[in-house]
């Protein structure tokens, strides 16, 4: 596996509060990385910095050998960085399938017109099948259940044909059966070649999914190791696992 995402000495502060302090992180191509840490530890800030929703104060984000630190989020999405949101952010006024048309139009196909509309629609339907949401393609987000909203977030991210997918608590609020369903989808995506960084608090899911786990506390990485080693790490146990 070759490293293709490098977070180099990234610091991010909000009005004097340091959310990330000299964070260094490498993610290899095809890897499944779990990102854990207590609330407020900087996990979401870190992925906001990677996806471009936030600008870094110092340091840089290198993706596939090129710095993407100065790129806007939509430009980063075009380089292959996609993400989901902790609180689902669907396009409410569009149907499920129309939600997917946005990245398909702006990232993949450039323009959707009469000549390619049908094939793009088929592509969107195929993506919805991959996340088991094809039977809800004409539904509006307001009519979807929590797990369906999570699947829609995933489907929209996949529609951007990402090389790196960052999932911010994609299983929050789900029952265990639904968690496993989302995990199965993520594992399938990974086996199709997509590198995945997953932020999650459900430790069973993190352990089942991750090849490597990084633990963040108070804006610093305190452990970066194999899952079993992270679980055995006393500092992680004290800071996050509570035992």
């Amino acid at each position: 596996m070759t490293a293709f995402l490098n977070v180099q000495d990234v610091t991010k502060t909000f009005f004097g509060f340091t959310a990330l302090s000299n964070v260094n992180l490498n993610v290899a191509s095809g890897e499944r990385l779990g990102l854990i840490g207590p609330n407020g530890s900087g996990k979401t800030t870190l992925i906001n910095c990677i996806s471009g929703a936030l600008e870094v104060d110092t340091g840089q984000i290198v993706f596939e050998g090129s710095s993407i630190s100065k790129l806007a989020p939509h430009q980063r999405a075009k380089t292959g960085v996609a993400r989901t949101f902790q609180i689902p952010q669907p396009f409410h006024s569009m149907s499920v399938v129309e939600n997917l048309m946005v990245p398909l139009e702006y990232i993949v196909h450039g323009l959707i017109d009469a000549s390619n509309e049908e094939s793009v629609y088929c592509e969107a339907s195929e993506i919805l099948s991959r996340v088991r949401l094809d039977d809800r393609r004409h539904a509006h987000p307001g009519d979807l259940s929590q797990v369906e909203l999570r699947k829609l977030e995933l489907a929209r991210a996949i529609a951007a044909r990402p090389k790196l997918l960052i999932c911010d608590e994609a299983m929050a609020g789900l029952a265990m059966k639904e968690v496993n369903e989302i995990l199965d989808i993520l594992l399938e995506l990974n086996s199709a070649g997509i590198t995945i960084v997953m932020i999650e608090h459900i430790m069973q899911a993190v352990m089942r999914f991750s090849q490597r786990i990084v633990c963040l506390t108070a804006g610093r990485i305190i452990c970066d190791d194999l899952p079993e080693n992270v679980m055995a790490n006393p500092e992680v146990r004290r800071a996050y696992l509570g035992s």
Partner: protein
């Protein structure tokens, strides 16, 4: 070409021809005047909707763009004796440039902060014109109109045709924006701006395009005012009323479709014109109450109401459809 496009372009051709033939019916000139005002509001409400409805950025600076268009036309007339078509084109360009500048300065603001900034822009521009002696300053300027061109008998007749063409142009622009890549992107950024950006939508670029188009169309609506009223002064031209009316018309008609604001404009401004002689205060009261009712009960306007009723009649689930196209806070 799609069937809906064919219907649109047939109607777009038929409307100016109808406006041209209208005086032949022997109607009182007052009805032509009413039609002109109605169409002027069709342009303003449609232009407002490009930014306010599609992108969800509520602009209270309609009067600023309308006034800038009127004064741009006046300056072109005074300085170069430019013909009307040049005045309209020049005003549209100035409005678009102004929209772009306002967008660059204010579009990083969101919600109520953006709206307040647009009011500030209107005040700044009005203050500038108030102190500009070349165009009459605060006292305004009387315009000596040249003879009516193109064989029309009166300016009202000619400007009605011109305003019909401008209304068709603005509707065509709004329709294109809604049905093209622009519309999908604007709709996405209105619903969830960060998610749209992360889905590849260049949100700032799209907002600037919407600002420029909206500003250009609003200024275009104002460009015929100097010739129409033959007197121009800043207080009435930069009136906040234009902003409130354009917004009300779009909200009541429905912001999710290009024709929604036009429906709202026809209903409100036509009723306003006919109510002026009876009781303008009552009309204002009715417009205000209608706005409150629509915002609370049917924020997606008449369009959403019709969709919802149709959904009820066909016994399909109507959950949430009443809110289609709603601008979220």
């Amino acid at each position: 070409m799609k069937k809906s496009s064919i219907v649109f372009w047939i109607a777009a051709t038929a409307l100016p021809i109808s406006a041209y033939l209208l005086p032949a019916l022997g109607l009182n000139e007052y009805y032509l005047y009413v039609s002109y005002i109605v169409l002027q509001y069709v342009v303003l409400a449609t232009a407002w909707n490009v930014l306010g409805g599609y992108a969800g950025y509520v602009n209270f600076g309609t009067g600023a763009f309308f006034g800038a268009g009127a004064y741009a036309a006046l300056v072109l007339m005074l300085t170069f004796q430019a013909p009307l078509i040049v005045q309209i084109g020049g005003a549209a360009l100035i409005g678009a440039a102004m929209g772009l500048c306002v967008g660059l300065l204010t579009l990083r603001l969101k919600g109520i902060f953006f709206s307040i900034a647009t009011i500030a822009v209107a005040i700044v521009i009005e203050t500038f014109v108030l102190n500009w002696r070349y165009v009459g300053g605060a006292t305004g300027m009387q315009i000596l109109r040249p003879p009516v061109p193109l064989g029309f008998e009166t300016y009202t007749q000619m400007l009605l045709v011109v305003m019909t063409v401008l209304a068709v142009v603005s509707l065509a622009v709004a329709r294109y924006v809604q049905t093209s890549w622009l519309g999908r992107g604007l709709q996405a950024l209105r619903d969830a701006e960060v998610a749209a950006e992360c889905s590849g939508v260049p949100t700032l670029k799209l907002k600037l395009i919407a600002c420029a188009l909206s500003g250009g169309l609003m200024a275009m609506a104002g460009s015929t005012l100097p010739l129409y009223s033959s007197f121009i002064e800043p207080h009435s031209v930069f009136n906040l009323n234009y902003s409130v009316m354009a917004l009300s018309m779009a909200v009541i008609g429905g912001m999710s479709k290009w024709w929604g604001p036009a429906i709202g404009a026809v209903l409100i401004s036509a009723s306003q014109q006919f109510a002026v002689s009876a009781s303008p205060e009552k009309h204002l009261l009715i417009v205000g109450l209608s706005l409150i009712v629509f915002v609370v009960v049917a924020p997606s306007g008449l369009i959403g109401l019709v969709h919802w009723l149709r959904g009820c009649l066909t016994s399909r689930s109507s959950t949430g459809r009443l809110n289609e196209g709603l601008i979220k806070p």
